[in-house]
């Protein structure tokens, strides 16, 4: 029975994907949407039906690649729950957009279904090779989604860039897998990670395994869209809402979180590298949250919010809080969904609208829950005794994500005047119902967070973490210097801004001075973006691209044409010149002066006579 259910979990979306791709020209968008919605719902139900079989071994095993061992699909508890969350997210994303299906391409349905099938296979696979293969296919689906929407040079550029970035992550993952396989002799995930854990400390293989950890973390960092790899996630803004929410904001980050969850024990044992990871995580989170404050669009801010979240997760993983990573798979999936849907509702709702207010309310709820969760995981990390400096930055990053949430809510209220009429439409009931369900679920989950966490930890066979009481968490929040510092700076900046704008009779000089200060802050933020985002990052990318192409051309000219070809040409010319001289000498002396031949013959004769005699 379990075998049939597992096969169906992967086979049904695969079949749907194939059907939609083959019949894409004859399928109406609404039909494609309904099929994809039904498939995601069915996979969710299949995952639910598999839960009673959770914890079993491999239900399907094949030897695909000779010598690499049996590749199996298991009904591991964590894998099944990951499938459930990911498929459920797809269902909700598609349900929320059920009222505007006209923008849904059948090919997009095929890609979503394919990504669903491969993501399910990735979560259930107990073999690194299988997981790597399906992750690559998910990456391909993500890149191709852009091409489905934009069949222009720009689309090709974006899709290619996304795929390259995701492949960079896969290079990291492959490095990790192969080094781990070399050390442990197996590609089966659980035994390989267990053996890796015993070998990483105090054995000659430790140094190699630390490289493996670095590779895995690069993969996680790229999949989560950590800074500066968030560029691939930004391109998701070109897609319809459902594709963006699920393909760009859910499936790949979930795969990244799940990978991080599996390798967290190795990360925590990575020796000196652990400190680097702590700093990369916390610094990346703070930088992303700070950069997000500059943006006006809520959807863009949300992407940066996720980037900051990636940093915090990496920090928590380096601190060794595995349970926080496992928990974030569920919490983040729900919060992401709610935040993106609410942001869309506030962006598009016809003003003045009750739905818009509800959207803003849900955005606020999502923001509060996100900050609370971040506070909780950093609190857990702090209890493990991590470096104080990295912890300080991580706490500041949590505060900045809070500021960012407030910033987004304010933006959603302020943007109304700037909205053009064609961008507004009535939010239909499916989106409203979905947001309501998610909001209720999140509030309910928050109310029973303790027992829920306990249940989820039991599933993952992890000891439940110490759960702080709400007052204790609040006390932590108001007594943490980093949080107080960020909140204080923000309040001062805010106050100055308000004073500048609202002062009825500001002294021109003073106002100008303060305005200049505000403007200076804004400019500083812009300068930061210009230097870091555009100047360094995008500039670096552009420079790299330019450098690569120009460098290739330069090398081609210097090495290929002038160097090697030139060398060859000169050598040939030299030989030809020698040949010409020989010919001239030959024709000039021998052809017309047979004396040389006679002399040569006489000399030869003399030699023969002398030696013969």
């Amino acid at each position: 029975m379990a075998k049939i259910l597992v096969l169906s979990t992967i086979g049904v979306p695969l079949l749907a994907s194939l059907s939609l791709a083959v019949a894409s020209r004859r399928t109406r968008p609404s039909m494609a949407h309904h099929v994809t919605l039904a498939v995601s719902g069915l996979v969710t139900l299949l995952a639910l039906a598999l839960l009673p079989f959770a914890g079993g071994g491999a239900v399907i095993a094949v030897e695909w690649f000779p010598g690499m061992g049996q590749i199996g699909l298991t009904t591991s508890s964590t894998g099944l729950y990951a499938v459930l969350v990911t498929a459920g997210a797809a269902f909700f994303a598609l349900l929320a957009t059920a009222s505007h299906t006209q923008e849904f391409s059948p090919l997009m349905g095929a890609l979503i279904s394919l990504a669903l099938a491969t993501a399910a296979a990735a979560f259930l696979a107990d073999h690194f090779l299988a997981r790597y293969v399906v992750l690559e296919i998910v990456a391909l689906c993500i890149a191709l989604a852009i091409l489905v929407e934009m069949q222009t040079r720009q689309g090709v550029r974006l899709a290619g860039g996304n795929y390259l970035l995701l492949r960079l992550g896969d290079v990291g993952m492959l490095t990790g897998i192969l080094l781990l396989m070399d050390a442990t002799g197996t590609l089966h995930i659980a035994p390989s990670l267990e053996q890796g854990l015993t070998l990483i400390e105090g054995t000659p293989l430790g140094a190699r395994l630390r490289w493996a950890v670095a590779g895995f973390l690069l993969a996680v960092w790229v999949k989560l869209g950590g800074w500066p790899f968030h560029l691939w996630k930004r391109t998701g803004l070109q897609l319809p809402l459902n594709a963006q929410i699920w393909l760009y904001a859910t499936v790949m980050p979930n795969l990244g979180i799940y990978l991080l969850y599996r390798v967290t024990p190795l990360v925590a044992m990575a020796g000196p590298m652990r400190d680097v990871i702590l700093w990369v995580g916390s610094g990346g989170a703070a930088l992303a949250a700070l950069a997000a404050l500059r943006h006006r669009g809520v959807r863009v801010s949300l992407i940066y919010q996720e980037t900051a979240q990636a940093g915090l997760l990496l920090f928590v993983a380096a601190a060794g809080v595995k349970e926080a990573i496992w928990l974030s798979l569920f919490v983040m999936a729900a919060l992401r969904m709610l935040l993106f849907l609410a942001a869309d509702a506030t962006r598009h709702a016809t003003p003045p609208s009750r739905q818009r207010k509800i959207g803003t309310g849900l955005l606020t709820l999502g923001g509060i829950m996100l900050v609370a969760f971040n506070l909780l995981i950093v609190w857990w990390a702090g209890r493990t005794g991590v470096r104080a400096d990295a912890l300080f930055v991580a706490q500041a990053a949590v505060a900045l994500t809070g500021v960012l949430s407030v910033h987004m809510v304010r933006q959603s209220l302020e943007d109304e005047e700037e909205r053009r009429p064609r961008q507004t439409y009535e939010i239909q009931w499916p989106q409203g119902v979905t947001m309501g369900l998610l909001g209720l679920g999140i509030v309910g989950g928050g109310m029973v967070f303790g027992p829920l966490t306990h249940h989820l930890m039991t599933i993952a066979s992890v000891a439940p973490p110490t759960m702080p009481t709400l007052p204790a968490l609040l006390r932590y929040m108001v007594t943490t210097p980093a949080i107080l510092f960020v909140v204080g700076v923000t309040l001062i900046a805010r106050k100055m801004w308000q004073w500048t704008i609202q002062s009825p009779t500001p002294a021109t000089e003073s106002s100008e001075e303060i305005y200049n200060l505000e403007e200076g802050l804004v400019r500083a933020a812009r300068a930061l973006r210009a230097v870091v985002e555009v100047g360094m990052l995008e500039g670096l990318v552009a420079l790299f691209a330019l450098g690569t192409v120009e460098g290739a051309r330069f090398v081609y000219r210097v090495v290929e044409q002038e160097g090697l070809e030139g060398l060859l040409r000169r050598a040939v010319q030299g030989v030809m010149e020698l040949a010409r001289r020989l010919r001239r000498w030959h024709t000039g002396r021998l052809r017309y002066n047979l004396l040389w031949i006679a002399i040569s013959l006489i000399l030869a004769l003399l030699v023969l006579v002398m030696y013969g005699g």
Binding site: W64, I137, L147, V156, V171, L178, D182, T548, V559
Partner: protein, 488 residues
């Protein structure tokens, strides 16, 4: 004479007889030449496949005769597991190239010569892999060069074809001479010209081992077109008629790999080869990255794919340099898979050139809607060359990378992995520029003959099938490893 011996003869006799018939009955076979060539290529492939059961039974089909007894020169052909993957690749590529030529090549009075030379080229490759003695090996090795050179010189594109053919000849002949010197030194030192005898193990002075191995590695690297001895390849691939390009890129390049596997790796022990491991790996990485960079810089679609071969041969050399099971198995797998994918990509390029009359990538674009099937085939080829699963090359790259990480040189292995991103870059750029975006002004699309489409679609399917079902080819290669590495 056993059945296996007859099949062994057919592999070589079919193309030889067909080329003789085509030359002798040239006037009467203008239109039937392609079919005759196709039939003989199919017979060769069939003959090679028919030997598979014997190999699985543990037999080594041999056909031998004394030729010059006074000089101890014998003509011996044999098929072992090392030969088999290469033999199948060459005969398979020849068949699809001949079928592709039916649509590519307009019949004229010289058509029988064209197909006759194509078959002689194939005969040279098959003979090289089947030969069990040095003399025969070198004869077929040079036949391969002469036939392909004549094809480029006579049927090549553009005014420069003569010069390109000469360059190709000089370069590869220099490589051949190094190989010849290596063979002669080996013969002089061991007193045997039989591969079977040499494989049993030879005892040479260390200096001589170094000399012979160096000669072989450089000589065969020229045939592989590894940086910096690759200069003949871009011009030859670009100027040669497409069926010849397919055979050059997909089959003939593999001869260099075969040579390295057959000579230094089969004859000398791993300990004796160890000093060459790092240089081979470094040369492989450099070639991989350099070829990919050049592919990015090029604008002629045939040259882009040609430079991609330089890059792909880098992977193979890197795999061989690891001197371990995974690396060598991966390198041999890569030969087979690269042949399929490279033939596919050149066929797609040929279809684009035939449909549009253009070959500069900046003059192409937006062809996806006009040529959807070609776009899909090219997309599959590009993804495959980029090492994306579930296509074939992913499997061989996995093995090569795994081999790299089994060595002590993690840095080189990581560099190889990072270099593979450049492959992704040029592959995506290639497909994106040709099939997406707006169609340039004046770009018209003509019809495509079925004979060119059919093998392209077949290879696309094969690329996918080889990817999801790698076991058969993998088994052949695993058998081969026992011959090369003595069961490490």
């Amino acid at each position: 004479m056993t059945l296996e011996t007859i099949w062994l003869m057919i592999i070589l006799a079919a193309p030889l007889a067909a080329s003789l018939v085509l030359v002798l009955l040239r006037d009467r076979l203008k239109y039937a030449a392609g079919w005759i060539a196709g039939l003989s290529a199919a017979l060769s492939l069939g003959g090679a496949l028919a030997l598979l059961p014997a190999l699985y039974r543990g037999q080594i089909p041999v056909l031998g005769l004394r030729w010059v007894p006074a000089a101890h020169i014998r003509l011996v052909l044999h098929v072992d597991w090392l030969t088999f993957p290469f033999l199948i690749t060459e005969t398979g590529v020849t068949l699809v190239a001949v079928v592709y030529a039916w649509g590519y090549h307009h019949p004229d009075e010289n058509t029988p010569y064209f197909y006759a030379l194509l078959l002689l080229f194939a005969l040279g490759m098959s003979g090289t892999t089947l030969a069990d003695d040095m003399f025969l090996f070198y004869i077929f090795w040079e036949l391969m060069l002469l036939a392909s050179c004549a094809l480029i010189a006579v049927w090549g594109d553009g005014e420069r074809r003569g010069a390109v053919a000469l360059k190709y000849f000089i370069f590869t002949h220099m490589g051949s001479l190094l190989v010849l010197v290596g063979l002669l030194v080996l013969y002089d030192a061991t007193g045997s010209d039989s591969f079977s005898v040499l494989r049993e193990g030879v005892t040479l002075a260390p200096g001589l081992v170094t000399l012979v191995t160096t000669l072989f590695l450089i000589g065969f690297s020229v045939k592989m077109a590894v940086f910096p001895v690759h200069l003949w390849l871009p011009d030859a691939h670009t100027v040669a008629p497409m069926p010849v390009t397919i055979m050059l890129a997909a089959a003939m390049l593999s001869m260099g790999t075969y040579g390295i596997l057959r000579f230094p790796l089969s004859i000398f022990s791993i300990e004796q080869m160890a000093p060459f491991a790092v240089p081979m790996m470094i040369a492989g990485v450099v070639s991989e990255i350099y070829g990919a960079l050049m592919a990015l810089a090029e604008e002629d679609i045939k040259r882009i794919i040609a430079y991609s071969s330089v890059s792909q041969m880098g992977y193979i050399l890197f795999g061989l340099g690891t001197l371990n099971h995974d690396g060598i198995a991966g390198a041999t797998l890569h030969v087979v898979y690269h042949a399929t994918v490279k033939a596919l990509l050149f066929m797609c390029a040929g279809l684009v050139i035939r449909a549009t009359g253009r070959r500069r990538i900046d003059k192409l674009g937006g062809l996806g809607r006009a040529l959807p099937l070609v776009a899909v085939c090219t997309g599959v080829g590009a993804l495959a060359i980029a090492g994306s699963p579930p296509f074939s090359i992913f499997n061989s790259e996995w093995m090569i990378f795994a081999g790299g990480f089994h060595t002590a040189h993690i840095g080189l292995s990581i560099l190889t992995l990072l270099g593979s991103l450049l492959t992704v870059a040029y592959a995506l750029w290639f497909v994106g520029r040709i099939f997406f975006g707006n169609r340039p002004e004046g770009l018209t699309v003509g019809s495509l003959p079925w004979a060119m489409m059919a093998p392209t679609v077949l290879l696309t399917a094969l690329t996918f099938i080889e990817g999801i079902y790698p076991a058969p080819v993998f088994n052949w290669v695993t058998h081969e490893l026992a011959l090369i590495l003595g069961g490490i």
